[in-house]
């Protein structure tokens, strides 16, 4: 799944480590999320949405074709 985490993070001027610390995961997980290699759980998605102060659907780009819908 594609995400806007990197874009939002850069706009907020926070490093991957700072974001990882804020949401309680490792920096490697943030790297994987930004690269679209790992899909976050609902809890992590909520934490990220709270951190960036935007709705979840603005962070995660849901592709219907990719999900075969």
């Amino acid at each position: 799944m594609q995400t806007r985490i990197q874009e939002l993070r850069k706009a907020k001027k926070v490093t991957q480590s700072e974001l990882a610390d804020a949401v309680g995961v490792t920096r490697q997980t943030i790297i994987s999320l930004e690269a679209g290699k790992y899909n976050a759980s609902l809890i992590l998605a909520h934490k990220l949405a709270q951190f960036f102060e935007v709705p979840i659907e603005e962070i995660f780009i849901f592709d219907k074709e990719e999900e075969n819908l």
């Binding site: 309680g24 995961v25 490792t26 997980t29 994987s32 790992y38």
Partner: protein, 159 residues
Amino acid sequence: MRGIFCYAVANTNEEYRKVVKNRMTLFVLMALAGALAIAAPLLLDHFWKNDIKEGLFDIYIGFGSGLLAISVIFWFMHWRLLRNENKLKEERIKSNDERLVEIGNRSLRFASNMMIASMYITTLIVGLYNTILFIILLINMCVLLLAYAGAYRYYLRKM
């Protein structure tokens, strides 16, 4: 290896401190098990003059010493962890990290499949030469599959 041995749900350092302390107790028990594995063949040999096969004697001593050494090293590593708040937080995040947990689960699933396949092949080969070993391996395979079925039913009700 976090998926197998180190998964823990702890939201604060205090909660994780308890997890680490529990693990330290486990390492003490593992060290005792190692010491027992060393002592058993030695005692049998010394007091009862039991005739233990040379190779088996060495395997017991080697296995026991390995278990004892690893337990002591891990106990010491965890003891040091309790004295460093930053390291403790770092380890807590690593052991809670959902991606690492998922990687551990997938690796465990792959390893289980490999183990079933290798056990099946070994059982077929051993069966040609040794009936007792054949039955033991077959029972082991059944235990694994029954444990999976039992756990599956349990979690089906729980989730």
